[in-house]
């Protein structure tokens, strides 16, 4: 359960989920997930997040706060990286 004030990744850690993460500042894509179906999330804490990311449903869990129920597919770093590169957007590759 994640409340609206809480970062999704922080809630996952609290519940013992060992999800990937690195910069924890919404930059490196390591924690990337993809929202399945409709949903609302606040990504304003991310250091680098594009409207195109949101349109494709990509979410950076380390800096995202939910504003509705969300179903999220985790471990989407590679997919988000490929998507960014395909759209000419910056994407750390490691």
């Amino acid at each position: 359960m994640v409340n609206e004030e809480e970062l999704i990744l922080a809630a996952a850690f609290r519940e013992g989920l060992d999800l990937p993460s690195m910069c924890l500042q919404g930059w490196c894509l390591t924690c990337a997930g993809r929202v399945v179906g409709p949903g609302c999330w606040d990504q304003s804490a991310a250091r680098r997040y594009y409207e195109l990311d949101r349109e494709a449903g990509f979410i950076l869990l380390c800096t995202a706060r939910p504003c509705s129920d969300l179903t999220i597919q985790t471990h989407q770093r590679r997919q988000m990286r490929d998507y960014r590169l395909g759209n000419g957007l910056p994407a750390p590759r490691g």
Partner: protein, 225 residues
Amino acid sequence: MAEKKHGSDAIVKRGDLSKRVGVEQIRKRGVNVEHLIELLIDAAGAEFTTYYYYTLLRMNLAGKEDYKEICEDARLEDRAHFELITPRIYELGGQLPADIREFADRAGCPDAFLPGYSGVKEKGVKTVQKIQEGGYKAAEILEVLLEAERCAVRTWNEVCDITFGKDPRTYDMASRILQEEIEHEAWFIELLSMERDGVSRPSGHFRRGDPGDAPYSKNRGFYNP
């Protein structure tokens, strides 16, 4: 002279310059070399951009001469980290991007911007100008420095994890860098803790011998006069 068959030809043939035994050996031990190269380029990008941004942050610690000196050590040591890891990228068969903009964009850690600067071009410049008129607060700069170091600690831990027991050369370099990044984090915790909260949290470290001495990554003696 009759050509002798040799067991070493199995993976890298005699005279083959397209492969390196030093790379194929670590691949055989389970390292995903291509992934490692990409991770190292991202990490090198972060060290390089950090060196740049620390220059700006140091300039704006005016009047806090002790903080400036600590920032200077971290700044120069981050440059040393870039210098240490870059040759390894090429040894492994990788290379740095031809365009520095691409290099900065793929850095594994965020830009360590001046406090309040968002990176949005025109609006960002105006924001910085406005903040500069009033002067930066040292605590805000120290917080930027601290979070940059924390990202570096996570990055080099990751490199150590994926090379430990498989790629001793990269591991040794990453471990040296990690040790200095851990020290940097401790410095900025100490300074920010007292500056912002009035609480003593010593790093427990003595001074560097010379600015940016980098005892681990430059293999220098520790300051002990």
